[in-house]
């Protein structure tokens, strides 16, 4: 039964941006829900504008709706004002397409993109009238599942999900739907259904594992309690991206969203091997899409959406081995029809600046580079294969080409960081600024260069070589930010920084275990939500929540863990072996870089043999499959 539309329309008149909550977007899929076998609701625990900008949601929406036996709809976390109004009027969480209450769907699938969206998951379940804990749900409740990068350590939210998919969903979602249908056809109990799902490769059913703890608070062991439960659960990976569907139409919203353009994924994975980067570890191996496929997808997407911009997406798009051909092909085809091309991520080199020059034409808003650390020593520790000369060459090319603003990303609190490394950030920024002054003067312009330094705080992430490493205490991070605030003053210099409280919470949950679920429930009960939104974060409430639930957040964020400790995510595998992570962690301590596997030498990370896949790079062979 639909929700009360009259009541909804009334509150839509008084909330901010009502377009977030109504359907009618171009390309949205409307099916008759009584004519399908399985109704899936994709739930994104952040605002419409954020969720609709997420490529994974578009891919799954497309794939699921291609099936005649499935209807897939969408829902998002209502903003604070709408959330309050819905609670007050008794309107439950509903789907955009059919205005059907979330609890009337068969499967509710959450996308877990960042730890600070966890309280929104609880708020959405609460608004839907679905019990938060898997164990409290009955036969009438939807199956509540999740996926996304947080699935690689979902332990803090594990009790809230019936099943969690590790890795890529293109092939697995269909299998989950099939197994769900089979379980229902055979009238299996909920527990039996979960066991059936646990046998789908990549599917982790948290309730089929028991975690035991030691007296010092560390984990004694993680034990499967059913023969259906794999140990470890191995992530799913698509061998050939060209063989699975990629949407040739996107929903085009009326309201402006964050990434309001065609997102064309050029490849998946990354070979740089930065030691802090979870995406670089868990999305391995690198798999490029065919050039012809990309051009054809671009053509179909321009026609079906009417968008005016094509963004070439990946973890580092300049790495695509045929990027020049791709860019010139797209520019040639579309520049006459007012469709632009953009590259969201640039490497620190002049090749990338050349590419940016080609696509950006006249609209030189600003270029962003990420040296990540201030000294060569620390860049070697984190395996960021970028030198001072690379950076200066890149920014020189940028200023010479007419850019006037440059943004530099750095992290503070990285393992082994000293005062010298912080001073290195300041020095690099000043060198870049001086370089800008020189080049702009040479170009005989009266404009002056602008250098923005953006610093985030290091957050240790599961399945990375730095997973054993603590985050620096908050006071230390604040002191480091203060040093940069004092040192990066003056004309042409700007500093932006992240709230250390948010980074602390991120660290707590990124290395968290199941005991944190209680703290999340307390925090949600105290009104915490939208923690990723600076103005909404209520840190005092969080402290109260930790105290009430009796967990010490610093144990997770600020403690050094040993190589032989059982980690909360040891039963979950991203394909990268623990031996490799230990070896990388040791090399980091010695400041020894590890070369990119693209260059020919296998770094023995274990992904290819473990998952029986191979890197796929169009131009030039890559060794490394042993």
């Amino acid at each position: 039964m639909q929700i009360d539309s009259r009541l909804l329309d009334e509150i839509l008149e008084v909330v901010e941006r009502p377009a977030r909550y109504v359907n009618g977007e171009w390309n949205a899929v409307h099916k008759r829900l009584d004519e399908v076998d399985v109704r899936v609701l994709l739930a994104f625990p952040d605002t419409y504008e954020v969720g609709m900008s997420h490529l994974g949601l578009k891919i799954l929406y497309y794939i699921l709706n291609q099936r005649d036996d499935v209807a897939c709809e969408r829902t998002f976390m209502p903003w604070v004002d709408m959330h309050a109004a819905m609670k007050e009027k008794g309107i439950p969480l509903y789907s955009l397409e059919s205005r059907l209450p979330a609890r009337e769907f068969d499967i509710l699938g959450f996308s877990l993109q960042y730890e600070l969206s966890y309280t929104n998951v609880l708020a959405m379940l609460d608004l839907a009238g679905i019990p938060a804990r898997s164990e409290a749900r009955g036969a009438d409740d939807p199956l509540v599942i999740a996926g996304g990068p947080c699935a690689y350590n979902p332990e803090p939210v594990a009790p809230f999900f019936d099943a969690i998919l590790l890795g890529e969903g293109e092939e697995a979602v269909g299998e989950i739907v099939d197994e769900y249908k089979r379980a229902r056809r055979e009238s299996l109990s909920r527990r039996e259904m979960l066991e059936v799902l646990a046998r789908v490769p990549g599917v982790y059913v948290p309730s089929l594992y028991e975690v035991e703890y030691r007296e010092d608070g560390k984990i004694a062991g993680i034990f499967p309690t059913s023969p259906a439960a794999a140990h470890p659960v191995q992530k799913r990976v698509v061998r050939d991206l060209g063989a699975v569907p990629f949407p040739d139409n996107f929903v085009v919203p009326f309201a402006e969203i964050i990434h309001d353009r065609i997102m064309l994924e050029v490849f998946r994975g990354c070979t740089h091997g930065c030691r802090f980067c979870q995406a670089g570890m868990v999305y391995r191996p690198v798999r490029e899409r065919d050039l012809d496929d990309l051009c054809e997808l671009a053509r179909r997407l321009v026609t079906s959406t009417g968008y005016e911009e094509i963004s070439l997406m990946s973890l580092s798009s300049a790495d695509y081995s045929r990027i020049r051909e791709l860019v010139s092909n797209l520019l040639q085809r579309y520049s006459g029809s007012g469709v632009a091309v953009s590259l969201p991520s640039l490497r620190v080199d002049s090749f990338s600046v050349d590419l940016a020059k080609e696509v950006e034409k006249g609209r030189k808003t600003g270029l962003t580079f990420a040296p990540e650390a201030g000294t060569q020593r620390l860049r070697d520790v984190i395996n960021k294969g970028v030198t001072r000369d690379d950076l200066l060459e890149a920014v020189r090319a940028a200023f010479a080409a007419g850019w006037q603003a440059v943004k530099l990303y750095f992290m503070i609190g990285l393992p082994t960081e000293t005062e010298d490394d912080l001073a290195g950030i300041v020095n690099l920024a000043r060198e870049v600024l001086a370089c800008g002054r020189e080049e702009l003067k040479r170009g005989r312009t009266t404009r002056s260069p602008q250098v923005t330094v953006s610093v985030s705080s290091f957050v240790p992430k599961a399945h990375t070589p730095f997973q054993w490493h603590p985050q620096a205490p908050m006071e230390e991070l604040v002191a480091k930010q203060d040093y940069l605030k004092r040192s990066l003053r003056g004309k042409g210099l700007k500093l932006a920084w992240h709230d250390v409280k948010a980074s602390f919470l991120e660290a707590v949950f990124s290395r968290g275990d199941r005991r944190l679920a209680a703290a999340l429930e307390e925090a949600a009960a105290l009104g915490c939500r939208f923690d990723a939104w600076h103005e909404e974060l209520r840190f005092d409430k969080w402290q109260e929540a930790f105290a009430r639930s009796g967990v010490d957040p610093k144990f997770y964020a600020n403690t050094h863990w040993n190589y032989d400790d059982v980690l909360p995510w040891d039963h979950l595998s991203a394909g990268v072996s623990k031996d490799y992570l230990v070896a990388e962690s040791r090399r980091a301590a010695e400041g020894v870089p590890t070369p990119d596997c693209r260059l020919g030498k296998c770094v023995k990370c274990g992904v290819c043999p473990q998952l029986k896949v191979a890197p796929r790079i169009l131009a030039g062979p890559v060794e490394g499959v042993s």
Binding site: E13, A19, G24, E25, W26, V252, F254, A255, E256, V302, T303, S304, T305, G306, Y307, E308, G336, S337, G338, V339, A340, K361, G362, R363
Partner: protein, 214 residues
């Protein structure tokens, strides 16, 4: 939907329709289009005018056929005509617009007789000073000479008002400027709002009077 959202939605529809649209000059080429005056957020419309500059004309029927398929739900093509090159844009010809305002059955204080009295008072006033705040500052102007016609529609009990007011480049009235004045004169309290406002039509000036543009 804001006016900007509307423009973006139409631009995308025109691109999906694969019309041979002329582009603007510069680094960000846009389709060359012009729009009738912005519709205030929350106001519905049965009449929005869009000029689309084409490089070549596939003919009005073909343009209409392609555009109809490409418009998002909630937007409907009413009519499509090919104009001679170099003529004035539709939007520059606009002189007036009509709106219908429904106070709705729930708005019990807004009885037809109360609204009618308020309208009479408003029409008899010599001047109606109102102020409008824009990002550029606050501006005072006299609303009275910009209201060309205002009357109560006889209906089924709930009060509805039809207005014809100045619109376009030479002077522009927003329907809420007028409804606010009616609400004030009817003594409904500052919070009382009509249930629904619909833009009905645009008018040009011809033969000494206002004629519907379409």
């Amino acid at each position: 939907m804001s006016h900007l959202d509307f423009i973006r939605a139409v631009e995308r529809a025109v691109r999906r329709a694969d019309l041979p649209v002329a582009l603007t000059e510069g680094f960000h080429p846009h389709p060359r289009m012009s729009f009738s005056p912005a519709l205030p957020v929350g106001v519905e419309s049965e009449c929005e005018l869009i000029d689309v500059d084409l490089r070549e004309s596939p003919g009005a029927d073909e343009v209409a056929r392609r555009l109809e398929r490409a418009l998002p739900p909630g937007m409907r093509l009413v009519s499509c005509v090919v104009l001679p090159q170099g003529g004035p844009s539709l939007s520059s010809m606009i002189r007036a617009a009509s709106y219908q305002v429904d106070f709705g059955r729930d708005n019990v204080a807004a009885r037809p007789d109360v609204i009618e009295a308020a309208i009479e008072g408003l029409l008899q006033a010599n001047a109606i000073p109102v102020s409008r705040t824009t990002p550029k500052g606050t501006r005072e102007f006299d609303l009275r000479p910009l209201i060309y016609d205002l009357r109560l529609l006889r209906g089924d009990g709930a009060a509805s008002v039809r207005m014809l007011v100045a619109a376009g480049p030479r002077g522009h009235v927003r329907p809420d400027d007028v409804t606010r004045e009616i609400v004030r004169r009817a003594g409904l309290g500052p919070g009382a709002r009509p249930a629904r406002i619909v833009r009905k039509e645009f008018y040009v000036e011809r033969d000494g009077g206002f004629r519907p543009l379409l």
